[in-house]
Each structure stands twice: as C-alpha cells, then as structure tokens.
C-alpha cells in the first residue's frame, strides 16, 4: 500500500495507549499517543500521582503492558501504601515482574555539585528497569522534585530531561510525567517544563468554588491529534466506595458528537390525557422536564410515569433528592400506586439521597452505576433542582449535560422535575439551564381565576412532535391526576405577580 512506498514509514494514525480513566481517553480520542511524552501538571493534592499510577495499573492489569515507576519525591514504600486504597498492589506487581521501580527520591547523603554533569546515571537506571520488565509505560513522578534537587543548574536539567525523554520515546515507551503547579490558573508548570519536553500537556485542577471543591481535568495540548477542549469534572474514588471504576474517575461531559439516535417509539407518560396532549406519549429516548412550584403535582406526575412504565412491562428507577423513601412510598399509595409491590417484583428501584451528601460528579457516577446495574427502561429524578444547591452555575450545567446525554445514549425515557421558586409563574435559573437540554417541557402552574386558585398543566415544548397548545385545568384526588377543560382567557403563565388580564 501507499505507506510501504514511502521512504520513511510514518503511521498516519497515532496508536493510542489507554490510561484507565475511561472518560479521559474519550477526550483524547482513545488514549495517550504511543511513544510520546505527556506532562500532567497540577497543584499539590490535585491527583497527579493517582493518575500516574492508574496509567501504570491499567497497563498492567488490562493491557498486559508492563511499566516502570520513577519516583523523585515519595519513597516507593509510601507510594505503595498510599495506593492500596485504590486496590493497586505495587508490591505484588513488582514480585510478578510487571513493574519496576526506580527510587530517585532525595538522598540522605551529603552532596555537592562541582562542575558540569549529566543525568545518564538516571537514564541508564530507567532503561535497565524498562528492560528488566519489558516495559511499555514509564511514569516520572514528579519532575519538579528533580528540578529542585539540582536547583542551581536549570539549564543542565533542561538539556538532560530532553535527552532522557528523547531516549525513552525512541525506545517506543509512552512516558507520563507529573509536574507541580503553583496556582490553578496561570503559569502551566513550575520551571516551565512543558515547553521543552512535552508532546502533550494535561492539567488537573482542584478549585475551591463557593465552599465546594471542584476537580477538573483539561487537555491543554496534544501534538498531532484532536482533543476535546475545556475542563471536564472528575472525582477520586477508593476501591471501597461502590462498584464501578475507582481511582481517578473522569465524568464524561457532552460527548464529542451528538450520536444518540432519535427514536420514534412512544411510551406512556402514565396519564392518558397527557399522552394525548403530547401527540401519543413521550419518545422512548427523550428526557422530559416537569416544572412547577411546590405542591403543583410534580411528584404525582413522577409516580404516574413510573407506574405507567411498570404497567406496560418496563423496569423503572427513581432517584429522590427531596423526600425520603418512606414519604415517596406513602405519597404513591395515596394516589393508588403501590411502590413496595413494584419493588418486590423487581420492576422498580427507588434510591433516595441527600443532595449535599456528595459532589455532583459523585452523584452522576452513582446514578450511572445504578442505571447500569438495574438496566431500567425509564428513569425519574425528583427533583433535579435540589441538586443545584450542591454546585451552582458551571458544575450544575455540566452535570445536567452529562446526565441527559447518558440517559439518551442508553435509550431510556427520562423525567426530571424542577421546582420553580415563585408560586405563580416565573422562571428559575435551573429552568433556564434545563429547558434547553430536555426534549419536552411540561409546566405545572397555580392559576388564579377570580377568587379561586386552580392548577393548570401545559406542554410547552415537545421536540419532534406536535403537541396540544392549551393550558388544561387539573385536579388531584385519591386516584391521581385528572385533566379537565382548558382555561379560557388564561393569565400569563410566565410572569410573576399580577396576572395581565386582571388589569384589563
């Protein structure tokens, strides 16, 4: 083929090395390029060493690629014990011949630098270690410490580090190096290491934002290949913190492509009248938002949605962030729905969590793990706006995007509820976030008519389908929700305060 004709064979596609942080590999189209160097920069405590060891761990346990760990900072024994919590046993790997460790932590001996020197001692040790286990992956942790060791000779260090990384690359080794940063934003790394040795630069951040820590990972540079831009949230999970992945777990944001297929299959909302208003029900892989003030019947709609699915032979899952299991079960039975029986049949799973119990990244992972475990056909979240308390602004938006695209990818019918802050009309900030992401929006509103307060329901948006435009009255009783006649001369459902028509 054409590649063989070329004088110098240059692979047209860079081979990828998976890091073991699944969502990160997605950001960089499959993993780190083979035989390249990547600098992972971060402030102390940002998770650099964990990421680095995970890269080795994944190579050893998943890809049969052995590794070398060169440690300049912590002693090998310290790293070994620190990593046990993630289920990584460095000692066992060393005994099995999968891992070699080069201990380059600072010496206790007196030492003086007089005259010119090189770092060939270090290079020979690394090469020796790599040969001894037939390594494919090398971690240097952290370069900043090496620089500080030879603080008087930064020029020599630059030259020598370049020599080392060059030699390792030529031996087809994929190199991951960590480096310290002084601040979350600003200079990329101390000593500007990335400028001369890095093909790729990845930044780990640990930012304090409104009293909450927000960890993110960003691909700053990836020579010769495409990568997703911007920060993606991640979390650090120990082995004992649930099923699923552990170590550094990145949270997949909006995937690079909107690749989920749109289904034309309709599923019931659990209420025949609402199905009719939506032109035959929700789409199977769509996410619907139910927005309304407190007490307008959002949880009832959720209950109907779940019961309707179960009645149609589907499996359903509910995440409650406002009420306890007991309350949800009691509410449901008040509307003639028996959650307990559904759970006993294995048709329904109800999980209740306090929003503040963990960060949004952890919430998202918990939801994803449980969905993968239960394999439901429909999912309800009551309410999504309660989670906004945990991390406002960017974090919440990212969470929503991730969750929504996750639900759509799995072809699950989703229902979110959001509580509007004002009782009559008005939009909350969360609605603005959510409304553009969801396929359908149902508004529940208190409607004042003369001296009586009614409840009204309208379908505001139904992507890819006709829907009824009128605002329907509804009542709630012991058997659930009953839609009645449309309002005539209805007040403006979006403005708060005095309805327009009242002043006419």
């Amino acid at each position: 083929m054409s590649a063989q004709d070329a004088e110098v064979e240059v692979p047209d596609v860079l081979e990828r090395v998976k890091t073991g942080v699944a969502a990160f590999d997605e950001l960089v189209t499959g993993g780190l390029p083979r035989a390249r160097t990547t600098v992972v920069g971060g402030t102390p405590g940002s998770g650099k060493t964990i990421f680095a060891i995970q890269f080795l761990a994944h190579g050893i346990s998943e890809c049969s690629e052995n590794g070398v760990l060169v440690t300049f900072e912590e002693s090998p024994a310290d790293i070994d014990s620190n990593m046990r919590g993630f289920g990584w046993d460095l000692t066992a790997w060393r005994k099995a011949g999968c891992l070699a460790v080069v201990d380059a932590s600072p010496p206790t001996k007196d030492e003086l630098v007089i005259g010119d020197f090189d770092l060939l001692g270090l290079l020979s040790r690394i090469q020796h270690a790599a040969r001894s286990v037939n390594a494919k992956r090398i971690v240097l942790d952290s370069l900043t410490q090496l620089f500080d060791h030879f603080i008087g000779d930064p020029k020599v260090l630059r030259r020598e580090l370049f020599r080392i990384t060059d030699a390792l690359k030529k031996a087809d080794l994929t190199v991951l190096m960590t480096a310290e940063r002084n601040a979350e934003y600003g200079e990329i790394t101390r000593h500007r290491l990335e400028e001369f040795i890095a093909d790729n630069v990845v930044i780990l951040r640990n930012v304090l934002q409104r009293e909450k820590r927000r960890r993110t990972i960003e691909v700053l540079k990836m020579r010769g290949s495409h990568h997703a831009e911007g920060e993606s949230p991640f979390t650090i999970l120990g082995r004992d913190e649930g099923p699923g992945a552990h170590g550094l777990v990145a949270v997949p944001l909006s995937s690079l492509r909107l690749e989920q297929q749109s289904s034309t299959v309709r599923v019931t909302s659990g209420n025949r009248a609402i199905d009719e208003m939506c032109g035959g029900g929700f789409f199977r892989d769509s996410v619907t938002l139910v927005s309304g003030a407190t007490g307008t019947g959002k949880t009832l709609l959720v209950t109907n949605f779940l019961a309707g699915g179960v009645a149609a032979g589907e499996r359903a899952i509910l995440f409650g962030f406002e009420e306890s299991r007991g309350q949800l079960f009691r509410n449901a039975s008040g509307w003639g729905v028996d959650f307990a029986a559904m759970e006993a049949e294995g048709k329904l799973k109800v999980f209740c969590l306090y929003p503040e119990a963990q960060g949004l990244a952890d919430h998202l992972l918990a939801i994803q793990n449980l969905v993968d475990e239960v394999q439901p056909n429909r999912i309800a979240i009551d309410s999504i706006s309660a989670l906004e308390r945990v991390a406002p602004d960017v974090g919440f938006r990212e969470f929503l995007i991730s969750l929504t695209s996750f639900i759509k990818k799995r072809e699950i019918a989703g229902l979110y509820t959001a509580t509007s802050k004002s009782l009559i009309g008005g939009e909350s900030a969360s609605e603005q976030h959510i409304s553009t992401l969801t396929d359908s929006i149902i508004l529940l509103r208190y409607m004042q008519e003369q001296d009586v307060m009614h409840r009204g329901l309208m379908v505001l948006k139904m992507r890819g389908s006709e829907h009824a435009k009128e605002i329907r009255r509804f009542t709630i009783d012991g058997s659930g929700m009953h839609l009645g006649e449309p309002f005539k001369g209805a007040p403006n459902v979006f403005s708060s305060g005095e309805p327009d028509y009242y002043q006419r």
Binding site: P107, D110, V113, F117, D118, L119, G121, L122, F150
Partner: protein, 104 residues
C-alpha cells in the same frame, strides 16, 4: 588508617567521563594517606547505579562509614573537591595544589 575507597560513577566514554577520570587520578596522587579508586560505568553496570541510587554522572562517592559524601560533576575544581571530602593535600611531587582558574 588506609585503604578507604573512592568510587567514581561515569557514563560511557564521553568527554565529561574522561575529564572526571583524569581529575580523579590527579586527586588520588594528592591524597594522603593512599586511597583506592574504583570506576563504574553506569551504562554497562546499571544495576550498580541502581544500588547506589545514582542520578547524575559523573558522581564521586566517598564510602565513609560514618559520613558518606558525594560530589557530582567533572571534579575540575580540585581544591573544592578536597575540601568537601575533608582530605589533607600532600605535595608529593613538589608541586603545590593550585585551584584551577575559574572559567567565566
């Protein structure tokens, strides 16, 4: 006492290695009492470099039982090396030790 050991770790036959070796032999002549000198090439004996935890080359290691010391570099500044290692210099061949001129 006699027979203490100076180990010089070098990397291959580079110019800097040869310079360090020559400087070491010069030092050896000046040191009283006599010392043994051992030269280890880390390229051919990486396992010895690993054992000793060598990062930089050349490294001169003074294997003192109580206070081991190391000098990194090509040992060109003979006077400072001797001072740091704590040796008295002898004028064996009648020449005084003169510190090398510092290069600008």
């Amino acid at each position: 006492m006699s027979g203490f050991l100076l180990r010089l770790y070098i990397a291959g036959r580079s110019a800097i290695s040869q310079r360090a070796e020559q400087n070491l032999f010069q030092l050896q002549r000046l040191i009283e009492p006599d010392c043994k000198v051992e030269i280890i090439d880390v390229v051919t004996r990486p396992e010895l470099a690993e054992q000793a935890g060598i990062l930089a080359t050349p490294t001169l290691s003074y294997e003192h039982p109580e206070r081991p010391r190391r000098v990194i570099g090509d040992l060109s500044d003979t006077k400072r090396v001797l001072e740091f290692l704590g040796f008295r210099a002898q004028e064996k061949d009648g020449r005084a030790i003169e510190p090398k001129e510092k290069n600008a």
